[in-house]
């Protein structure tokens, strides 16, 4: 052996030894699996160390009280570990963190437990998906996150399983199927734990379906209640589906795939409902089509509907109103804030569902204003039918604000909305109703080239405080922190930090793929971290439809599937 070869071998041996030591150190570090109690969930808003549910707390604020990373030092934020999901497509997730352990879902039905200090995987569970399930999902094989309670972690899969896993081992505790995916009843929702039940909502309103919100027992998976989002015969609202098609209600969609919020004082669960089916063809469902495009106030014990507020009655624009509700107490008033795809930001009294105000997030011309009750005054020039093509309808189906969750900073009383300015031409068309097949009701749709924006509002008055423009829509969820920061991501893969007061960009990092998931922040051993999933996918038709679209530069946008975690350089 030559001297050079000997040195080379020595180096290799050293590298292996060092690697082994590092690996052993990481592996040997104590990993706790602290049981998640009701008290922890009820106080999640004050707990900066953990991120215990998709919206961070029962109010869904996505506001972290941590302030180690702030407007002065955010420039020193560096990646400290990355984690590959091993799959591509839409990474829509919001990771959870419990005492140093991260639970993160990915596309294609996977979930991982990861040591959140260093990215070491503790276990993974890959739910076996049927090969055919993709064709029963409009918008990719994504998943929006998990829920944790006691010793279990819960998540939903595209083929409509709800699964409870042992948090320490990743072993399946129970696995129940709640719907028939072959008829396009599918799931992407991040569950919510409320009073010992795991609450989920269905996807599938681009197909002829009748969808629902459901609560399961966390110990057994047994159904506790199910509330259909479309009333059946004899129920209030059944008569809002017109009289030309007696089965319109039975296949009227009404998805519920965005996680709700919960007010423990009022004991009300707020859960929003999406678009009617067919999406753009309202000819055979003339009426308000309850409870589509509404937020329901539910009794969490039995699923009974206490009251509701409807954002877009008789939707013929696919303004899929199932976006989140953020619960805020503003100047002594209990309200919810809701950014809708119909272009408006709403403030609603959450004790009774009464309208307080609606403000334009983006340009709106399908409605000219509101009645005193908050019903939109529809502009007839923007209502399509089989013979009438309408042009330059603003906003297009994705808003306004798309599904990506906004954030509320209670210290500043400001809400930060990921948004876009894209309009569309529409011509409704009849489509055949076949279970398991798309039923969109559209003959022509042409999205106009537009741009993205991140908009900050004063939550007291609804006044716009600042707007950051970008070449593409902001497609991530938003995180705000007590350090005065607002984090948001773009289809180009940029993860940016802004000064919450001014909108000034303070930091940016290229994550490698488009961001359609949501950032979180947590603290371990006195060090604050920020994590962001990236991986382009989901419904991207708005961007490149027909070779044109709202953001044609995103054609063939790079896919990915990973998580990047940041902390201050030290």
């Amino acid at each position: 052996m030559s001297a050079r070869a000997g040195i080379g071998m020595l180096r290799a041996v050293c590298a292996v030894l060092i690697g082994a030591v590092l690996f052993t150190s990481a592996g040997a570090a104590e990993v706790k699996h602290t049981p998640v109690t009701d008290a922890m969930l009820l106080n999640a808003g004050k707990d900066g160390n953990n991120w215990l549910m998709a919206g961070r707390d029962y109010s869904g604020t996505r506001f972290s009280p941590l302030k180690q990373i702030d407007t002065r030092n955010v420039g020193k934020l560096v990646p400290v570990w990355t984690f590959s999901f091993g799959v591509l497509d839409a990474q829509n997730t919001t990771p959870l963190v419990v005492d140093g352990v991260m639970y993160v879902t990915s596309s294609h039905g996977r979930i991982f437990a990861v040591d959140a200090r260093n990215g070491t995987m503790l276990w993974q569970y890959n739910h076996p998906l049927p090969d055919e399930v993709g064709k029963f999902m409009c918008c990719d094989l994504g998943n929006r996150g998990a829920a944790v309670y006691k010793d279990k972690v819960f998540y939903a899969t595209p083929d409509s399983h709800v699964i409870a896993l042992d948090r320490a081992t990743g072993k399946v505790v129970w696995d129940v199927t709640i719907a028939d995916w072959t008829k396009a009843y599918t799931m992407t929702v991040a569950p919510l734990i409320v009073k010992g039940k795991v609450v989920v909502g269905m996807s599938g309103a681009e197909y002829p379906t009748r969808l629902w919100i459901e609560a399961l027992d966390t110990e057994t998976g047994k159904q506790a209640w199910r509330t259909y989002t479309i009333p059946g015969p004899g129920e209030f609202g059944f008569d809002t589906w017109g009289n030309t098609d007696p089965e319109a209600w039975k296949f009227g969609g009404g998805s519920a795939w965005i996680t709700g919020s919960y007010d423990p004082q009022l004991d009300i669960l707020y859960w929003s409902v999406g678009n009617p089916n067919p999406d753009w063809d309202g000819m055979n469902r003339k009426g308000d089509n309850l409870y589509t495009n509404s937020t329901l106030a539910l009794n969490p014990d039995n699923g009974d509907i206490k009251f509701y507020f409807q954002y877009t009655p008789w939707d013929v624009w696919d303004y899929d109103g199932n976006n989140e509700t953020i619960l805020a107490d503003i100047n002594g008033k209990k309200v919810w804030l809701h950014g809708d795809r119909n272009g408006f930001l709403y403030k609603i009294d959450r004790t009774n569902g009464k309208f307080i105000w609606g403000k334009e997030i983006s340009k709106v011309n399908w409605a000219t204003g509101f009645t005193a009750e908050g019903r939109p005054i529809v502009n007839p020039d923007k209502v399509t039918n089989y013979e009438k093509k309408v042009t330059n309808v603003c906003p297009a189906s994705e808003g306004g604000k798309w599904w990506n969750p906004m954030s509320y900073n209670p210290q500043l009383q400001m809400v930060f909305v990921p948004s876009r300015e894209i309009c569309v031409d529409l011509l409704a068309g009849p489509s055949e109703r076949v279970e398991g097949k798309y039923n969109l009701g559209i003959a022509e749709a042409d999205w106009h080239k537009g741009h993205g924006q991140l908009v900050a509002f004063d939550a007291v008055t609804g006044e716009k405080k600042w707007t950051v423009k970008a070449p593409s829509p902001f497609t991530s969820g938003v995180l705000t922190t007590a350090g005065g920061l607002t984090f948001a991501g773009t289809p180009e893969g940029l993860f940016n930090a802004y000064d919450s007061k001014t909108g000034k960009e303070l930091w940016s990092y290229q994550t490698g793929s488009g961001i359609v998931g949501s950032p979180v922040s947590f603290m371990i051993d006195g060090r604050q971290y920020v994590a962001i999933p990236s991986g382009w996918g989901g419904w991207t038709g708005w961007a490149t439809w027909g070779g044109r679209g709202g953001a044609p530069h995103l054609k063939d946008n790079r896919k990915g599937g990973y998580l990047t975690v940041f902390a201050l350089f030290q």
Binding site: M137, A445, G537
Partner: protein
Amino acid sequence: MRNVLLALCAVWLLTGGAGEVPGGPGGTAPADNPLAGDPKAIQDGEVLYKRVSCHGCHGGNARGGNGPDLTDDEWQRAPSDQMIFNTIKFGRKGTMMSPFKDDLTDDQIWALVSYLRYLGEQRKAEGK
């Protein structure tokens, strides 16, 4: 030698060696579309394209949506008729592209291939 290996790898990849699709289970599809250029097949393909919801992902004119643009030069040049056939029939495991073997007969799949080729030619003629 390295170049030969690389070339062999490239051939293997291009013929689908890295995926689960080409040939699919059984791998019996003929190499060329027996209905290539057949106006009736193109017409049938157009109807099927909507009926089995291809448009939901690939757009109303196959120029892209959630799924890739199936008419641009890049896409049209790469796969053989057989590869397109197999992709439709058996899907691409681990992606949104599902198998349509239970929805379509072989002749219907070839009709879809004809329609996609027609759209590609149309686009080329438009010079876009």
